[in-house]
Amino acid sequence: MDPRATYHEALRALQDQMLALARLVEQAIDRAIAALKARDAELARQVVAEDVLIDRRRYEIEERVVTLIATQQPTAGDLRTILAILHITIELERMGDYAEGIAKIAEQLADQPLLKPLIDIPRMAEQVRSMLRRSLEAFLARDAGAARAIAREDDQIDALKEQVYRELLTYMIEDPSTITRATYLIWVTHNLERMADRVTNICERIVFLVTGRLEETPAPAP
C-alpha cells in the first residue's frame, strides 16, 4: 500500500496535464505548417486563436506545481519530477508561441501564390515534432541517454535551416519581387529552429530529472 497515494496520484495527474499540453503544441505545429502549405487562412486563424488555450493550460499547470510544492513537501525524485514538469511546461508554451508565429505568417501569405513547393520546411517541422514526441517518451521512460541523443539532433535542424536560407537567397537575388514572401519563409524556418532549441532545453531537464545533474547539451562543432 502506498501511504501517500493521494499525493502520488496528484503527481501523475500533473504529468498527464503536461502531456496533454504537449499534444496541443504538436497539433499547433502541424496545423500551422498545413495552413502554410495549403494557403489556408482560416486554419491559420484557428491556430492563432487556440494559442490562448495553450497559455491557459500552462498557467493551470504552474498553479498546480506551486500548490504541490507548498502543500506536499516533494523531495528527491518527486521534487525533480515537479521541477522538470514546470520547466518543460514553460518550454512547451513558448513552442506554442512559435507555432502561432508561423500561423500568422501563413495567414499573411495565404492570398499570394507559393514561392515554391514547400519541401524542406515541412521536413523541418516533422523533425521538430518527432524530437518533441520522442523527448516526452524519454521523459516517461526516465531515459537520460535518449534525451541526450535527441538534443544532438538539433544540429540537423540547424543544417536544414541553413539549406532553406541559401535556397531562398537565390530566389531573392534572381527576382526581387519574391523578397517579401521569401523573408516570411525565412522567419518560418527561424521559428522552427527555435522550437528545436526548446526541445533541447526539454531534454536537458530530462537529464536533470534522471541524474540530478544540470548539464548543457554540448554545442555542435563549428
Binding site: P3, R4, A5, V66, T67, A70, T71, Q72, Q73
Partner: protein, 272 residues
C-alpha cells in the same frame, strides 16, 4: 437535536455554499475559570472536507476543537459564550443532549488510547452500550475496513488492541470512532505519537474518509496541515494570551498566498 435555524447560514462564507456548512461557529468565547482561552471565534467549517486548525502552542486550537462536540464541558469551571451550530442546530441549546452530540461528532486523540480489550471489543464497545441492534460482526468489519486496518487484524480480532503497533492502535481508535456511525470526526494531533510512515498512512486514511465524513484536525505540524487539509484555520494567542482566529482559507491558497502578514510570518518561520 433541536433545530433552531442558524442565523448565519444564509450569509455563509463565500468559500463554499451555505448548504455545505457543517459547523457554523458564531462569536464563540471560552474561559477556563478566569482565564480566557478563546475570543470571538466566528468560523464556518465545510461538510465532507478536511479542515485543519493550526497555530503555535497555546493558541486555543485544541480548545476550539473540543467546543465542537461539547467535550470542554467535562472540564470544571469552564464557561462558554457564543453558539456552535451543527447542521443548523445549536449544539449548546439547553435541550440538546450532549451525549447525542458526542455520538454524531466523534473524536480521535493524540495518543492512541485503545481500551485494554480485544480488537473486536474495542470497536464493538460503543455500539453495544448504545444498544446497537444490527449485525455487530458486520459493523466491526466495516469500521475496521474504513479505518484501513481490517487486512492487518482480521485474523486476530480476539487479540488485545494494546498488542498492535502505535500506528495500528491509532487506526483502531479511528475504527472505534467510526463504529458509532458519526457525521464528523475530530482529530487532536492524531499523528504526533507516530513515525513518518504511520503518519502518512493516517493522512492517506483521512483523505479517503473525507468523502463520507466531515473532518476537523488539530495539528502543530503545519506541513501535515498542508498535506491533508482542504481548508486551514490559523489561530494565534493575542493580547493576554487569548486565542483568536487570524485567517481561514482554502489550504492551497493559505500556503501559497496567505492574506494576513501574521499567517505569512508563521508559515515561513519568521515568528517572534
Amino acid at each position: 437535536m433541536v433545530s433552531s435555524p442558524s442565523p448565519s447560514a444564509a450569509a455563509a462564507s463565500a468559500l463554499f455554499p451555505a448548504a455545505e456548512v457543517a459547523f457554523d461557529i458564531r462569536a464563540l468565547s471560552l474561559w477556563y475559570g478566569s482565564f480566557q482561552a478563546l475570543r470571538d471565534i466566528t468560523l464556518q467549517i465545510p461538510a465532507r472536507q478536511v479542515t485543519a486548525l493550526i497555530g503555535p502552542s497555546g493558541c486555543g486550537k485544541s480548545s476550539l476543537l473540543r467546543c465542537l462536540n461539547r467535550l470542554n464541558e467535562l472540564v470544571p469551571d469552564v464557561r462558554i459564550r457564543g453558539e456552535v451550530y451543527f447542521e443548523g442546530a445549536n449544539i449548546y441549546a439547553p435541550d440538546t443532549d450532549p451525549v447525542e452530540v458526542r455520538r454524531r461528532i466523534g473524536m480521535v486523540f493524540q495518543k492512541p488510547n485503545p481500551f485494554p480489550k480485544s480488537i473486536y471489543d474495542n470497536v464493538a464497545w460503543g455500539p453495544r452500550i448504545n444498544g446497537y441492534r444490527g449485525n455487530l460482526d458486520e459493523l466491526v468489519e466495516r469500521s475496521l475496513r474504513r479505518a484501513a486496518l481490517w487486512d492487518e487484524v482480521k485474523d486476530k480480532l480476539r487479540q488485545s488492541g494494546l498488542a498492535l503497533s502505535g500506528g495500528q492502535q491509532q487506526r483502531l481508535c479511528i475504527a472505534r470512532a467510526l463504529a458509532l456511525e458519526p457525521d464528523v470526526i475530530l482529530m487532536d494531533e492524531p499523528c504526533s505519537a507516530l513515525d513518518p510512515i504511520a503518519t502518512y498512512r493516517i493522512e492517506g486514511l483521512i483523505s479517503e474518509l473525507k468523502s463520507q465524513y466531515t473532518i476537523v484536525i488539530v495539528t502543530h505540524n503545519m506541513q501535515q496541515a498542508s498535506r491533508v487539509s482542504d481548508y486551514t484555520a490559523f489561530m494565534l494567542a493575542g493580547e493576554e494570551r487569548v486565542g483568536e482566529l487570524i485567517e481561514f482559507a482554502p489550504t492551497s491558497q493559505f500556503f501559497t498566498k496567505p492574506r494576513d502578514k501574521r499567517s505569512e510570518d508563521y508559515i515561513t518561520g519568521r515568528f517572534g
